[in-house]
Symmetry: D2
Subunit: 261 residues, 4 copies
């Protein structure tokens, strides 16, 4: 059974900062946000977690394998190098949405995201090493069938983007409401979902729903592992099988190469 | 009348590269993509343009004020520092969607986005300096009314994100279909639209549509200028007026401070 | 005749910041410093200038072609994205050391580098566009003869580094004292010098001095141009001629390809 | 007794790459080098090691606490995000210079630094966890007495830099020849040395030598720990004691705050 550890990363009092003393140059904000995300992706990713940019001022990370000290170190390192600080809320649950609910609640109890006094909060506790198992994380990696041929090489870029975006908006809502999963657009035509134990029939249901509602055809590779990287790497290999075999849902377990590391 | 110069930035043959010889670590891809975007945002932004991450493998930039040599330099600099190269398609039109259509078509004629032989294409021509005017670019900067109070401080982060995302998905489609505008989510509860000459009534219509369809209440500041930064900076100041006065649509022209630079 | 525009970049009150409230993690400081330098190198370099990391808290840039507004924009953009701010002192002179003397004096008059109240000073004036010529900048690009064969592939890395470092320490002092040039180690076995009009005999004298005093054999390509990139690119091509022909001093003027841009 | 684990980081075939097919823009190379160093500093530093830029194409890292898998991950991550790859040579010894000698030899045996076929070599073995002790690493953190008052606020920046540089060149050679230590300039007026067990009298001897030979007055804080961060953090605190008490050599052990983490 899954046991997902999610960490909410929230920039402290960011909205007010962006307009104090007057609005800051937008491209500086974009640079700051995307580099902050990149640094978090490296920190979390090199410890076999996954981070998603979400709204950039709030990011969500799958942090199975990162302990409390890792979270503290991330906060300290960001504060040393950026003009902003971050608060972190950790939650653990079989259901990803419940884990995030817990992580978010920890920060909300400490104060508002726009409370100038609330800085560098660290709430919640990481999953103890002894409780971790090889099936704690399930990752589903979706992409759009022939997005290059159908969209990128035929439509103008914005109309291609609309198709991908409508597909994503439909999938993210459906998977959250029906199956307690969190889905993130990760660029190109790719969506990565953090899921509880979810069956092939359920993934197929979600794909059908997106095609019916948004007209976008998806396929998905699914992997399970001890952490996000293991699960996600298995999912990527499963997705490669979809591409080769023309199937729409494939499962894989920890991919051999990862397991050998 | 607006005369928007848009540049499509397309990573050459990116999809295949991400899985060759086998899938690459997702967090490395996320880091690569967001840093590449950050570099483009700095290059374009420090020349008073705007860049949007869009799908990351395809990005859209408002480049009024950047000439052909600037575009070449950007390509050269990226090729010197990244494991990937970029192609650029420039288009100019009173209508942003038409400008992007032209920019996209230039690259499409040169080959597929996944053609391994098509690298570092530069198509289209920048607007001659002599044709530029102080009203070439119109930028609308939207945000969500009291997003922190209604969402961030009350819902879990994913449910907050769903609200913002559904609002964005609705706005981006409506503004494109009805008013030829291109809308980009830029983090937090902010959406920036690149628009042709658009009236107050039309912006109000869009806001009403999003509230009716997605239940998300927006307000918007609108600015016009010689380039994206001037227009966008005026839009940000107009949005501050919305915040102070509780209004939903405000227009501003080039803000004094920018004009004085 | 050369007319070099030099800008001193000084992080405001950096020393005290690094130990407040207590010493910060050294690797965060190293990351901050090297990324700040990288951003300045991109900003200046994409405008055809050169930046050198020098002591990191003080950097030196050759900024012919960058005007006062460019300097202001650099300050604003750094302040928006880093936890520190920078002051800039501009100086222009036929002699690089005199130009830097003027640029430094401008900041020194405004206050101490460790004065907490002195922030974001911009002193001095950029060379007016109308005064610029195609021979304003002379760049000499030195490298060590067969550094890989003699050092890198034979000695341990620190002993290789000692050789390069002693060669650099000798050259930087000699060229400054005898010829008013500023020399910067730029990695590998490369040293770049910003020089006034300097003759082949004088470069040969410097090379002889370094060989006699430090036992390190150098060769040098020299270029002249309207800005640092043009001069430096010509110098790089001249250095390639040294490599091919086994010569020790070669001059080039603006390289054809650059001139055609 | 110290037992230092050093890793040589060597960019594969970098020199030829920088001039193929013709010389690349110098500021792009500077950006690439300094960002690559920053990424390595973050990777190593967030695992409590230290990395030094040295010659940028060859970097030296103190990696006690990083195992073989960490080194492999660093190589993979760099290859995924940069246009160059890195080879790593690990060495362990009571003497830092011997450790680096071993690490360098591992790469040299695999081929030349400019052998286009030799890529991503990983040689040597990390210190087994069971062999690690709390006194494996000794770090000495030097700075220049009143550098701001004597140099930065009085001389032009290049003449200040010459003073620091001559002090560094003298110290790095003396400590290597007399005491088997590796010294690295880390910006400002700071030098960090990786040392075997070295006595107060020996540090004082080195300080005297630098003052006699280069006229530069140094002081030093020395720390010992299980890894570079612990030792270096203790050294920083010891240096603060020098500043407060006006002493020239101070020792500290693992600083309380670090030990409590």
């Amino acid at each position: 059974m899954t046991n997902t550890q999610l960490s909410l990363v929230q920039i402290d009092n960011y909205g007010p900062w962006t307009v104090t003393p007057e609005p800051r140059r937008e491209m500086d904000l974009q640079t700051l946000q995307s580099r902050l995300f990149a640094d978090i992706a490296q920190f979390v990713g090199s410890r076999d977690g996954y981070a998603f940019f979400t709204r950039f001022d709030n990011m969500v990370a799958v942090t199975n394998g990162l302990d409390d000290a890792d979270h503290e170190l991330l906060q300290e390192s960001i504060a040393n190098r950026y003009p902003v600080t971050i608060s972190l809320g950790i939650g653990v649950d079989a259901s990803p949405i419940e884990a995030l609910e817990a992580g978010t609640a920890g920060l909300q109890h400490a104060g508002s995201a726009q409370d100038g006094e609330r800085r560098e909060v660290l709430s919640g506790d990481a999953l103890p090493e002894s409780d971790r198992t090889d099936s704690d994380v399930q990752i589903a990696h979706f992409d759009v069938n022939d997005a290059t041929g159908k969209y990128t090489d035929r439509l103008n870029e914005f109309d291609s983007f609309i198709q991908i975006e409508q597909g994503y908006a439909t999938l993210m809502r459906y998977l959250r409401e029906e199956y307690d999963s969190l889905s993130f657009f990760v660029g190109g035509d790719n969506i990565i979902s953090v899921c509880p134990d979810t069956t092939e029939a359920e993934y197929r249901d979600a794909i059908r729903h997106v095609e019916a509602e948004a007209g976008v055809e998806l396929k998905v590779g699914v992997g399970t592992g001890r952490n996000a990287h293991e699960a996600g790497f298995a999912a990527k290999h499963a997705l490669e099988v979809c591409r080769e075999d023309g199937t729409d849902v494939e499962f894989d377990h920890v991919h051999a190469e990862v397991a050998d590391d």
